[in-house]
Symmetry: C2
Subunit: 308 residues, 2 copies
Amino acid sequence: MSHKLLLLTRENEIYHQLLSDLALPNLTIVDEQPAQISSTDIWLAEPGLAAPLISVGHSLQWLQSTFAGVDKLMQLKRPLSCQLTNIKGVFGPLMSEYVFGYLLNIYRQQGLYAAQQRQQLWQEGEYRTLQGKTLVVLGTGSIGSHLAQTAHHFGMKALGVSRRGRATAGFERVYEISQFASIISCADVLVNALPHTPQTVHLLNGELLSKLPQNATLFNVGRGSAIILDELTQLLQQRADLTAVLDVFEQEPLHSSHKIWQQANAIITPHIAAPSFPEQVVQIFADNYQRFCQQQPLMNLVDISAGY
Amino acid sequence: MSHKLLLLTRENEIYHQLLSDLALPNLTIVDEQPAQISSTDIWLAEPGLAAPLISVGHSLQWLQSTFAGVDKLMQLKRPLSCQLTNIKGVFGPLMSEYVFGYLLNIYRQQGLYAAQQRQQLWQEGEYRTLQGKTLVVLGTGSIGSHLAQTAHHFGMKALGVSRRGRATAGFERVYEISQFASIISCADVLVNALPHTPQTVHLLNGELLSKLPQNATLFNVGRGSAIILDELTQLLQQRADLTAVLDVFEQEPLHSSHKIWQQANAIITPHIAAPSFPEQVVQIFADNYQRFCQQQPLMNLVDISAGY
């Protein structure tokens, strides 16, 4: 049986080339024209580009997202009726690069030394090390696990928080999300790596975040909706000891007039913590394509009722 | 038998307190007065503070350095005749913090995103990851080993270079120093972690470093004497693709007029990559003191003929 694939990414050329190189059997890549879209049974797509076209995807059976976050496909008028798979398991090392890169920048005072270099000033700063500090990760999937391993490598303690609080390799202990408020005061470093679900929206409000301990660092690499940004901005204004490193926002791009851009103890990056590399996405797609053809269960299947 | 300890550090008060807390048997801490110095048989000292006093240390039997680097005690008119021990094994995690902190800053374009934040600019940069890159470490001791482990954790390959080229855990392969010139072109990241010895002085000259591959990053966390600084400065002027991160210099403090301070692709820090924490030093001293009293071989004994 032959299949038709629709590509909906901002890097279609690269994907086209990578897929052609693999020469997957019985698979034709078709152009993005309305008449063609409706006849394609498989989409390899960015959720934001696929969402507005779902209603004309009359033949769509399987949508492979090129991203981890699929919330744009959860907010449709009608719930998605095809199989939806996402990218999992490849973001851990990239997230660790992002989180520990900024964490070490902050702890090891790279900003101070850069300023001193501009003045040709040779002067030791105060010294902070990651050793002995506690990392709390919201979300204990493959990203959270990798962050916990990296924390251990640097001599930190790693605690996890998840929906069910199930013990997970790499974490000293995992708490249920209902217990989070009681342990946030232990979090020298707090990383949100939760997906967007109704339960995670605005979880991190100003009152909760105000319980962070002295000199804590907050990261958001999950979804922007987890944080009430205006309340966080206010908290950062009041507490200069805190630092927030934010890669995701409820409104992306973050509006240029938002005050947090100028907040000295906020670091803002444009959703670049862990990009999907086409080479990795195509590998996952190819594995799943084989399963799809053999009518086996797909990998990284999204539970549409749970939202991730 | 009772012993007299002379403290020669810039943190004598802290050391005094920590040692008093341990209450080591038969050990008296004495003041730094000429008459007293000559009667002390044990010194706990920074090499640079001890060196000028060695000639009056008539009773000195054992000198525990508070640093790893003891080259200032190797340049005396008369070779040291007492036992010399240094600090080893505690610097690996701190060096990994320093090296990988700066490496991730560079690879993940923290400077670019900071500049964009000042302009409220939401724009993805080009993407580089540590995954798949090659780290070459000069020196395969405890520091080199920890760097190699950290490299593996981030998906890099780690090659070592040592005097004898002996296989060492954590490194894919260890080369003899004589083979270094033939593998430097593989070094996406080159870290010098060698001690100061006659063989390592000016090892990294301009000609050799010019063989570094495109976009390579050079670290010096060993001793300043390993690099010919003026030749490196010239190379950095010619090759904007290279970055050098330097924590140690032949002349410390680095003279404020040196051109490398202003070199855009150089990062200069004031010998802070891996400080000795008094708590760790005192622990090592206490272990060695027990051995000294029982006339057992000391730990971390420096081979004075080899220089480390």
